[in-house]
């Protein structure tokens, strides 16, 4: 009898076996049952936006841009075992951890966009146009990622859909050609241009992608491609594309002339989100650990007060007195550089990200401005310059100078022709966009990504500069996952 009892007990226990082994994480939803409603999709789209805040993408981007082009300075060469200094000193190697971070962060952002597009049709939408507006926003974020990658690394792995299996990942993880990457960028941006998105974004929705952003980024990518010596034979037609896209962007502006917008209103926290000049911004909200930015801290000095309510800043990416001296007395932008000393040396730090209201944690309200109209204007100047239309180029250059309050002497103006005009346009970009993360791409365009032009100029700044520095190395830990498919950029392997 007792035996039967035991068997009965055992049977009862076993009946519950399969359930007993099903454990699910009480803290999170699993992907299998996630994409169920429009709200879920909205949240995924939001995460694609949030990916732009990833570290070493736009946040802390100065290493890869202003510092790398020696527009600003790496103030502590010994920090992080010298890994930061490598950008300034042109001694980058493929193991540089920050390059890896940037590469990973950008692909992660692209991945979020892809994932959204992949699941778009899992749900139905109250307003059917929502679907395409979501896809447009995601595609812009993807295009922005590929633009940054191709400009800095050259031909990178490019793909146009979510990678859902190990095999797809393996197949996609190989370098293509720069042309393929640019084509993908254009395809995505054309989709945005044809989408139901609005032309520009109101302050209340600041941070959202709009059509003008797509036109402007299209123009920017096309300009980057057109000024690449590799595409010299197609330059004319790509430039035409850049011009038309940038003009489209310009024509959709909601102000009269650039000079109607005070330079300070681009940065003032009370006006920044709604500033008509600002086309696309990565949006932050002050005093919040999840939503705040730390640009005030990053670009502020260690010793001077009145930049941020977090007293001590990082003294990173400061520029030199020599660069400060190039500004005209009346230049409105000059006030956005302020003198400080660090470790006994005089520098100028940025005031663009001043925030006295961010609280002691330094969670600031400063946005990162990815695209603004001054950029569009100067890109138009560039495009016309490369197209040989100096009159038109000067017109756009003047628009930006006028707003800054710069008067160019007749003497100086007369030298602004040929490479003199080229230098004037790019110098203007440096002055306008210092601390905004443009200068390295600008230099590549200025010198056509042409080693014969660029190497001597940079070698004069630092003899370590060589051919290799035109592109970043593919991060080592990525390269070894597919050494054949991801050959290293020249010069980084002692070859």
């Amino acid at each position: 009898m007792k035996k039967y009892l035991l068997i009965a007990i055992a049977a009862i226990i076993c009946a519950s076996c399969s359930d007993f082994l099903n454990e699910s994480d009480p803290n999170s939803i699993t992907s299998g049952n996630f994409y169920e409603s429009e709200a879920d999709i909205t949240n995924v789209l939001n995460s694609a936006y949030a990916s732009l805040k990833g570290n070493y993408y736009f946040v802390n981007s100065y290493h890869f841009t202003d510092v790398h082009s020696n527009l600003t300075v790496c103030t502590d060469p010994g920090a992080r075992g010298g890994a930061y200094f490598q950008f300034y000193n042109f001694t980058l190697n493929e193991e540089n951890e920050f390059l890896l971070n940037r590469y990973q962060t950008i692909y992660k952002s692209i991945g979020y966009a892809d994932k959204l597009i992949y699941h778009l049709d899992d749900v139905t939408y109250a307003d059917p146009s929502t679907r395409n507006s979501y896809e447009a926003q995601a595609r812009f974020i993807r295009a922005l990622g590929f633009y940054t990658l191709v400009a800095e690394w050259g031909a990178v792995p490019v793909f146009d859909k979510a990678l859902t299996s190990m095999q797809e990942i393996k197949d996609a993880n190989r370098r293509t050609s720069k042309a393929d990457v640019y084509d993908q960028i254009y395809k995505d941006l054309q989709y945005v241009i044809d989408s139901p998105l609005s032309d520009l974004t109101p302050a209340a929705d600041c941070g959202r992608v709009n059509k003008v952003a797509a036109y402007a980024l299209y123009g920017k990518a096309a300009l980057q491609q057109a000024t690449d010596v590799e595409f010299a034979s197609q330059r004319k037609s790509i430039l035409a594309k850049a011009e038309s896209m940038l003009l489209e962007a310009w024509n959709k502006k909601t102000f009269n002339e650039l000079k109607d917008i005070p330079f300070s209103s681009v940065w003032d926290l009370s006006t920044q989100k709604g500033c008509k000049e600002n086309i696309f911004q990565i949006n932050f909200v002050a005093k919040n650990a999840d939503l705040g930015s730390d640009f005030a801290y990053v670009y502020g000095p260690m010793s001077e007060a009145n930049i941020t309510s977090k007293h001590l800043c990082s003294s990173a990416s400061m520029t030199t007195p020599e660069f400060y001296a190039t500004y005209d007395q009346n230049d409105a932008r000059r006030a956005f550089l302020r003198k400080t000393t660090y470790s006994g040396i005089e520098y100028y730090h940025s005031m663009k990200y001043k925030d006295l209201d961010c609280g002691s944690d330094g969670y600031g309200g400063n946005n990162w401005i990815v695209l603004r109209y001054a950029d569009v204007a100067l890109m138009l100047a560039e495009a016309y310059y490369w197209d040989g239309n100096e009159t038109e180029a000067k017109k756009w250059l003047k628009a930006v100078r006028d707003r800054a309050g710069v008067v160019v002497s007749a003497d100086a103006a007369s030298s602004e022709t040929g490479t003199g005009l080229r230098d004037a346009i790019y110098t203007e970009r440096m002055k306008e966009f210092i601390h905004e993360g443009h200068s390295w791409h600008d230099y590549l365009r200025m010198y056509n990504a042409d080693a014969t032009l660029m190497v001597p100029v940079f070698q004069a700044k630092n003899p370590n500069f060589t051919l290799k520095d035109l592109l970043f190395p593919i991060p080592y830990s990525e390269r070894i996952l597919n050494p054949e498919g991801l050959p290293q950029n020249p010069g980084y392997l002692g070859d």
């Binding site: 999170s28 995460s47 502590d76 010298g82 990973q104 994932k115 007293h311 470790s343 040396i345 070859d495």
Partner: protein
């Protein structure tokens, strides 16, 4: 062999003879034989109550002893029943000793049901209570060096901290390699915190065949712990143990003194100045003052020398005001006291054991402290003739005051701060307060920023309360004769309250104490944890003797589920440091956030069986089979199956061998086993892709974000280890000499690993089974136990040695796994042909002389002229460089090995620099008892292991940015003064020598010999104790970790900061071990 045996025997006889010299009366002699008439060698004969007179039998079983008529002789020998014979006139007393069948039937705990020891054919290591040093605070420490094939590492000396056990090497990459602990049959999922005094025995299952009965949790070995229980029909024994010990730092590190540091910083700054100036083409002089240096565009952090070190006016170094020995201030003597009371006994139907332990241990870093109570009640009741019920309850309650020894100084790692803090700075202000943030305030001079370690230790408020309870009910019902049903039901509770408060009085990073900017670090955290583990086990066991055949079979079903629940809160915005609790948080709503809040769980179901057949003490065969289902794995691979077989042959019981051997007292047993066991020790839910949430904002409106977590593998399954074990057991003279040897070969496959995947996937890694990957552990372990003397003098000597070779045979198509440890340095590689987590970096092969430097400058011209590379076929004149930047190029720099001979030092020049695994480890222990005196000593050693002393990142970086190891004083200055000629030039940019790389000189030999325990005890004569109505009183003194001889530069050669197998042997601070001198008292009432 016979010769050696003979030698040992005669030595023993000699000793015994000397003992027998006390005899003053008539001589009694005779022979001791067993029932078959064979002489019993080495049997002990004592005159009862004489405390001192005794002898042993010789090789022919003969003895002689002086004794009075009327006295009683006691004959003892292991494996035989003892006999007492009263002397009644005869001067010849021959004795026939009966075999102790209880001894032959001795059982061994091997999982779920005990087995006859003689039937066990796997590989096991056993330690009995008497062999454990109980003066150390934790069980693990008591095991150090005791068992072959088991490496016990003392990585941390923090009060209350345990040890790390590794059975036969590491067989996993990301999954844990901690053995499974089973306490009185309860498989605890984590390390056990048990009172060492409660332990009856510890048995460690080493081979896969033995561990296979524990299936998916057996691959890293199984530690079976049996606690003391009551004894039937024995009146209560009450014991009280007390000890008090003083702990001091075991080994001190050798660091620069104030003057040596001063010279280093001056040297480093001047060298940097020289290099910067040379690169820039400007003039320089070491006597240029700081203003001159900065006017040339060089920053103070690189080239400036603080006034306190150099008098620029007179151009001479300054006399230093202080020479603080930070180690002496931080590591101070600390007391430990322990009380233990236990009672044991039994009636016919009831057995009981109860104990209560109290321990209070201060740490050598004041004010760390561990204060705990252990309680245990073990009850066993014979309810009816067929029904037995055992109930065990144990509790552990501890309060720990924590100081954080490990980690980076920036993260409050005290050990690193102690090493780095400048001896040139005072510890205290004149008013008696701590001197705070002195180094932090020197930050602009390129000085690193540890806070005064005394401030961190005393003012960082960190403590925890932990309690564990364990209820274990065991019901055995005898269904038929030989057939038992057993149910084990149990539950374990784990509760923890953790508390942390970081006041404004501790500087951090570049922010000095009390600076308002510290507000973001001025936080309080508290967590509350409640974990529950439930177990149900049901087994049927059948034992039967059929003639010469013995059968022992077991079948069972078990379920276990563990849930984890933790809530934590982090608060900030404190008005001041007066209140440390989270309740004092600021008014802002964001001042309170969640901290480490989590819920999780896992469950397991298993079927198990074991069949054992033995034939006439000659042949034994065991087979086991277990099936495990675990919630941790993907639905597709949820069940794992773990078979094993093992066999034994007692050669010397074979009749023809017996005839051959005649009277030779030798026994030999051969064993072989094969088994498969598993590892499921990865996190929960690894096979599920989960959605994480976050936040973004449009305009000023926050929105929720949701994103899919990393790529996951639905097919995730077990990691499997297959191990073959061949072994022998040799016995001489019964149990006088025992030699156990094992050879094993274990191959682990389906390795669980967080495989790196291309970034284009959006993730960087995913947990998966590497099906083609193979990790091998192969080796020998030997254990020799001898008992040279028995009787009046009882002397044992044991030694063991373990040799394990770990090797990754195949990476399963995976690229080499490179791991970054601290400061983003790639330091470890896991690659085919080398052990798991080998050290990987650049090999230093010398120091650049001035001539080398001149040659490099010539190379540089060629390099620069050719566009930043060398022309095809160019032969380097100087040593290869990383780059030819003048600001980095100097004589005195390290010459790195250009492994691929391409003239440039880059990633392709890295090589394997060693690994954390010893070539062999072992121990030597001895015990000696005579006339109430007992002595025990235990020596442990480890040879061939290496450690990355990553404190070198700061303490051997030649920068003068913090204090350095003493070896730095012996650096290269110039060709005339090359020092020891392997320590490079001092330079702020010594980073060019080591920048983000692992340099071979960080890898140090971590071999050691340690006298882990010496105990000397004395049991007071019976007459005295009778007088105070006590049955036994023993006093003792002991020393733990008395010395440790090691070439290692840091504190503890056994350090392991990182828990991952792939980042083994890494020193980034850790609580140093202490030497403990203890005095104690054992009283039995």
């Amino acid at each position: 062999m016979r010769k050696i045996v003979g030698l040992i025997v005669s030595f023993c006889l000699l000793l015994a003879a000397s003992v027998a010299m006390h005899a003053q009366n008539g001589i009694i002699s005779g022979t001791v034989t067993d029932i078959s008439g064979e002489p019993v060698i080495g049997a002990g004969i004592i005159v009862k109550g004489s405390s001192g007179r005794g002898t042993i039998t010789d090789i022919d079983g003969r003895y002689s002893i002086s004794a009075k008529q009327g006295e009683t002789l006691v004959f003892t020998c292991l494996g035989y029943k003892s006999q007492e014979i009263a002397l009644t006139g005869a001067s010849t007393v021959n004795v026939v000793l009966e075999e102790d069948t209880a001894f032959l039937e001795e059982t061994v705990v091997v999982g779920y049901a005990p087995m006859r020891k003689s039937d066990f054919t796997g590989s096991i290591a056993s330690v009995k209570a008497g062999e454990l040093a109980v003066t150390v605070p934790t069980l693990g420490q008591a095991l150090v060096g005791k068992v072959a094939g088991v490496e016990v590492r003392q990585a941390s000396g923090a009060p209350g901290d345990g040890t790390t056990l590794r059975v036969r090497g590491v067989n996993s990459l990301t999954a844990g390699s901690t053995p499974l602990y089973v306490v009185d049959g309860y498989p605890a999922s984590e390390d056990v915190y048990i009172n060492p005094s409660d332990i009856e025995s510890i048995d460690i299952l080493k081979d896969a065949a033995s561990a296979a009965i524990y299936g998916s949790r057996g691959a890293s070995g199984v530690v079976l712990i049996t606690t003391k229980r009551g004894v039937k029909d024995e009146s209560a024994t009450v014991t009280y143990d007390f000890s008090y010990g003083v702990q001091t730092l075991e080994r001190k590190a050798k660091l620069l003194n104030a003057e040596q540091f001063r010279d280093l910083i001056i040297d480093a700054k001047n060298n940097t100045y020289r290099l910067r100036a040379t690169a820039k083409g400007v003039t320089w002089s070491p006597l240029d003052d700081n203003d001159t240096r900065t006017s040339k565009g060089f920053s103070l952090s690189e080239v400036g020398i603080p006034e306190m070190f150099f008098d620029f006016q007179n151009g001479v170094p300054r006399e230093q005001q202080y020479d603080t020995d930070w180690q002496d201030l931080v590591f101070t003597p600390a007391g430990v006291q322990r009380h233990n009371v236990s009672v044991r006994g039994g009636t016919k139907n009831m057995r009981y054991m109860a104990s209560l332990g109290y321990m209070d241990q201060d740490g050598i870093i004041d004010p760390s402290n561990h204060n705990r109570i252990n309680g245990r009640i073990n009850l066993d009741a014979q309810v009816t003739e067929r029904l037995n019920v055992g109930v065990s309850y144990s509790m552990y309650d501890a309060h720990n005051k924590i100081v954080q020894a490990a980690g980076r100084c920036l993260n409050d790692g005290i050990v690193q701060s102690t090493l780095m803090y400048l001896p040139n700075l005072p510890a205290y202000e004149e008013n008696g307060d701590y001197a705070r943030s002195a180094m932090i305030l020197m930050n602009s001079w390129g000085i690193n920023f540890p806070e005064n370690p005394l401030v961190v230790a005393h003012e960082l408020d960190q403590h925890e309360d932990i309690s564990r309870h364990n209820l274990n009910i065991n019901v055995t019902y005898t269904i038929l004769d030989g057939l038992n049903f057993n149910a084990r039901l149990g539950q374990q509770w784990y509760n923890e309250r953790y508390f942390y408060y970081r006041p404004m009085s501790i500087g951090q990073g570049q922010v000095p104490a009390y600076d308002p900017q510290l507000a973001s670090a001025n936080i309080s955290r508290t967590t509350s944890t409640y974990d529950v583990d439930r177990l149900g086990e049901f087994t049927l066991n059948y034992k039967k003797q059929f003639g010469l055949h013995h059968v022992d079979a077991l079948a069972g079903y078990t379920m276990q589920r563990k849930t984890y629940d933790r809530v934590g809160v982090e608060a900030k915005g404190f008005a001041d440091d007066r209140i440390h609790e989270v309740t004092a948080h600021g008014a802002d709503p964001t001042d309170i956030v969640l901290y480490k809040t989590r819920k999780a769980g896992w469950s397991m179901i298993s079927w198990l069986s074991r069949f054992n057949w033995a034939y006439s003490d000659l042949y034994t065969l065991t087979a086991t089979f277990r099936a495990d289902g675990s919630s941790r794995f993907g639905v597709k691979n949820r069940w794992g199956f773990f078979p094993s077989v093992s066999a034994g042959w007692t050669v010397t019981n074979e009749p023809f061998v017996k005839n051959l051997l005649g009277n030779t007292p030798v026994s030999l047993r051969l064993r072989g086993s094969w088994g498969k066991s598993g590892n499921n020790d990865i996190g929960n839910y690894s096979s599920l892709a989960s959605i994480s949430t976050g936040a973004y904002a449009f305009g000023n409106t926050p929105v929720t974000t949701a994103y899919e977590g990393a790529f996951t593998d639905e097919g995730l399954g077990w990691e499997t280890t297959i191990q073959t074990n061949l072994g022998f057991d040799i016995g001489l003279w019964g149990d006088r000499v025992n030699l156990i040897g094992n050879w094993y070969n274990s191959i682990s496959t389906d390795i669980l690993y967080e495989q790196p995947i291309p970034s284009i996937s959006g993730s960087t890694k995913t947990t998966t089974n590497l099906s083609g990957a193979k990790i091998r552990n192969r080796g020998f372990d030997f254990q020799l136990d001898t008992r040279p003397l028995q009787g009046i003098v009882d002397w044992t000597i044991s030694t063991n040695v373990s040799i394990n070779r770990n090797k990754v045979l195949d990476m399963g198509g995976l690229e080499d796994i490179l791991r970054k440890t601290e400061r983003n340095v790639l330091s470890h590689i896991t690659t085919a042909g080398y052990p798991v987590g080998s050290f990987y970096g650049f090999q230093a092969i010398g120091i650049m002389s001035e001539e080398d430097y001149a040659n490099c400058l010539i190379d540089k011209q060629v390099y620069d002229a050719n566009g930043g590379k060398f022309p095809e076929g160019y032969t380097l004149r100087g040593p290869a460089q990383n780059n030819y930047d003048l600001a980095n190029l100097s004589y005195g720099n390290i010459i790195w090995e250009d492994v691929n001979k391409d003239g440039i030092i880059d990633t392709s020049d890295k090589k394997v620099l060693g690994d954390a695994y010893p070539d062999f480890t072992g121990g030597l222990s001895t015990t000696l008892r005579w006339n109430g005196i007992d002595f025990a000593a235990n020596l442990t050693y480890s040879v061939g292991a290496k450690v990355i002393n990553f404190q070198d990142y700061y303490c051997y970086n030649m920068e003068g940015s913090g204090n350095q190891y003493a070896i730095v004083a012996d650096r290269y200055i110039d060709d005339e003064h090359p020092g020891r000629n392997n320590v490079p030039l001092a330079e702020r940019h010594a980073t060019t020598n080591t920048s983000n790389r692992l340099a071979s000189f960080y890898v140090e030999d971590a071999s050691y010999v340690r006298l882990s325990n010496v105990t000397l005890g004395y049991t007071l004569p019976k007459a005295w104790t009778d007088f105070v109505k006590l049955s036994k009183v023993r006093v003792y003194v002991s020393g733990d970790n008395l010395f440790c001889i090691s070439p290692y530069r840091g504190y503890n050669p056994e350090i392991s900061y990182k828990t991952s197998n792939m980042e083994a042997g890494f020193d980034w601070g850790g609580y140093p071990l202490s030497r403990i001198i203890t005095g104690g008292l054992n009283i039995t009432f």
